[in-house]
């Protein structure tokens, strides 16, 4: 399939999936229990009433109305600018995470001993709850002074994005760099190629199929990290802050919080979209077994 064909295919699958989700949501509202489903006193089914699950069209029409009564700022403008703010932070986190992740993978490939010493700690680092880490990073950042460099508050959120992004990249790249076939390694050796030449002419190209899915995971990880950091540190300006603010108004204006949730989803999709496009570009000249 051509590049354009594949993009069209993926887009139409995406639209279909969205339609299916909307259908499922409205179907549940039709047949689900209004007061929620309880099983031995534990509620396991969400309430299908308009307060807990507003109609999809109510959510969408909410976008067109002002953020607060009497204001002339439409809510879609507020959500969009919040998502844009968080997107930039996520992107910074993603870039930092890529640098750290790829750097660690190269280091671990070069020195076996680093790999043996470091890898268990990398795995362990991912078990630290993000919520606990967020205030720590903010307070460390506040104390940091390097010359005239003042740590901006948003950078803490990006750092947390990086924290979730670097891990899949480090692990995926490490596997990818090791995936070069031994015959190819031997060929490079017969050319008396340096380690660096082998890295850039063989190992990295061979790693691309492993790195692409890792970067996709990292992109969504960066968004999660940033949004959670915004929520738990109360950083103003981003979509995370909007989610908590709007959630407080859920009783009076149930559709409002969903506009922010959609904003967060759009943010995640934009990030993975960027990676998906680079995937198509990077893999366009590789052998194709599947035609999706």
């Amino acid at each position: 399939m051509t590049l354009v064909g594949r993009i069209a295919y993926r887009t139409s699958m995406f639209v279909l999936a969205i339609a299916a989700i909307i259908g499922a949501w409205e179907l549940y509202k039709l047949i689900g229990p209004q007061g929620g489903g309880k099983f031995f006193g534990v509620s396991i089914l969400p309430r299908a009433n308009n307060n807990a699950m507003p109609h999809v069209w109510d959510m969408f029409s909410r976008f067109g109305r002002p953020e607060v009564r009497g204001s002339d700022r439409k809510i879609w403008v507020v959500v969009l600018s919040g998502a844009w703010f968080s997107l930039r932070l996520s992107f910074v986190g993603f870039l930092l995470g890529s640098t750290v992740g790829v750097g660690l993978a190269v280091l671990m490939t070069r020195f076996r001993i680093v790999q043996r010493g470091l890898l268990p700690y990398l795995v362990m680092s991912q078990t630290v709850p993000l919520i606990a880490l967020a205030p720590l990073v903010v307070s460390w950042g506040g104390k940091l002074e390097i010359g005239s460099f003042v740590w901006p508050r948003w950078l803490s959120a990006s750092i947390l994005g990086m924290f979730l992004a670097f891990f899949p990249i480090a692990v995926g790249t490490l596997r990818g760099l090791a995936s070069a076939p031994s015959a190819a390694m031997e060929l490079m050796e017969s050319y008396a190629a340096s380690w660096k030449q082998t890295l850039f002419k063989l190992r990295f190209p061979a790693a691309v199929p492993f790195m692409v899915p890792a970067f996709k995971l990292a992109a969504s990880g960066a968004v999660v990290g940033v949004v959670v950091a915004e929520i738990s540190t109360g950083l103003k300006g981003g979509i995370g802050r909007l989610i908590i603010e709007y959630a407080r108004e859920a009783t009076g204006d149930p559709a409002k919080v969903f506009t922010a949730v959609f904003g967060a989803a759009a943010l995640g999709l934009t990030m993975s979209g960027i990676v998906a496009v680079s995937d198509l570009l990077l893999m366009r000249n590789r052998p194709k077994e599947t035609t999706t």
Partner: protein, 270 residues
């Protein structure tokens, strides 16, 4: 000056451990410039090991290997040889042209010089219009020709080949043998060639080195007197069959002397 000189060379893997393998023991072999020498023998007799020692991809446990009058290590650094394996081993992410340019790139050649040489090589292997294609768009025989072009791109005086036509069908194989002889004559390249096929060894070679396993060693070196110019008629010549019989006899020797009956199955009789 000899192209390759292997003197009293042994290679023992995992020496001293329970898994010790005497891959080759006390091997002496000299290959003169311009010669075509084949290594043949049952599976596991150390053909690939000997080739890797010449290529300096392995260090000998004992003995000396020299290439072009230098140590094997220096010859590798100077890229005095090119190499081709059973699997063409082209890089999927590079076009055919860029694959051929790889060794030149590593040597630091500039772009225009590289492209010019790649084009020459593509003409040499008779695939001039394939430069912009990707390897996975080519047939196995074409890929192998590209691998040969890559091995010869830097015009090394020596070509080392490990069963390069082993994965090809019989028709393609015979065609490739003819092509290889033509290419090596045009570029006056010395060749050390590992094969499992007796007719292939005889058709291509000035000398056929017969090896036996456990421990790997040379049992006989057979001169093939079929003249310098070999054509399709050579395959029907009486001398061709005489040499095939001689090689087969020598291989029987490897069987009768030391080798368990299973080991000989590694050699094909076609």
């Amino acid at each position: 000056m000899s192209a390759v000189q292997v003197v009293g060379t042994s290679k023992i893997f995992n020496e001293g451990s329970a898994k010790q393998v005497d891959a080759i023991v006390e091997v002496n072999l000299t290959v003169e410039s311009g010669e075509f020498v084949s290594l043949i023998g049952p599976s596991g007799c150390g053909k690939s090991t000997l080739l890797r020692l010449i290529a300096n991809l392995l260090e000998p446990t004992q003995g000396v290997v020299s290439v072009n009058g230098k140590t094997a290590a220096q010859a590798r650094l100077d890229q005095d040889y090119g190499m081709a394996f059973q699997q063409a081993g082209l890089f999927d992410w590079r076009t055919v042209g860029k694959n051929i340019e790889l060794p030149l790139e590593l040597k630091g050649w500039d772009k225009t010089k590289r492209a010019k040489r790649a084009e020459e090589m593509l003409h040499l292997v008779k695939l001039p219009e394939f430069a912009e294609m990707y390897p996975w768009q080519l047939s196995g025989g074409m890929q192998q020709r590209i691998a040969i072009a890559r091995a010869l791109a830097a015009h090394p005086p020596l070509l080392l080949m490990d069963e390069p036509f082993g994965a090809l069908d019989e028709m393609t194989r015979e065609y490739m043998q003819g092509e290889l002889l033509r290419i090596c004559a045009e570029t006056s390249t010395t060749v050390v060639f590992v094969t499992h096929s007796i007719p292939e060894a005889v058709y291509l070679s000035n000398r056929v080195v017969v090896m036996s396993p456990r421990p790997g060693r040379i049992v006989e070196i057979i001169d093939v007197n079929l003249g310098a110019k070999r054509t399709e008629d050579t395959r029907a010549a009486e001398g061709f069959f005489r040499s095939i019989t001689a090689v087969r006899e020598a291989l029987r020797g490897t069987h009768a002397d030391h080798v368990a009956a299973t080991a000989i199955r590694g050699v094909e009789d076609r």
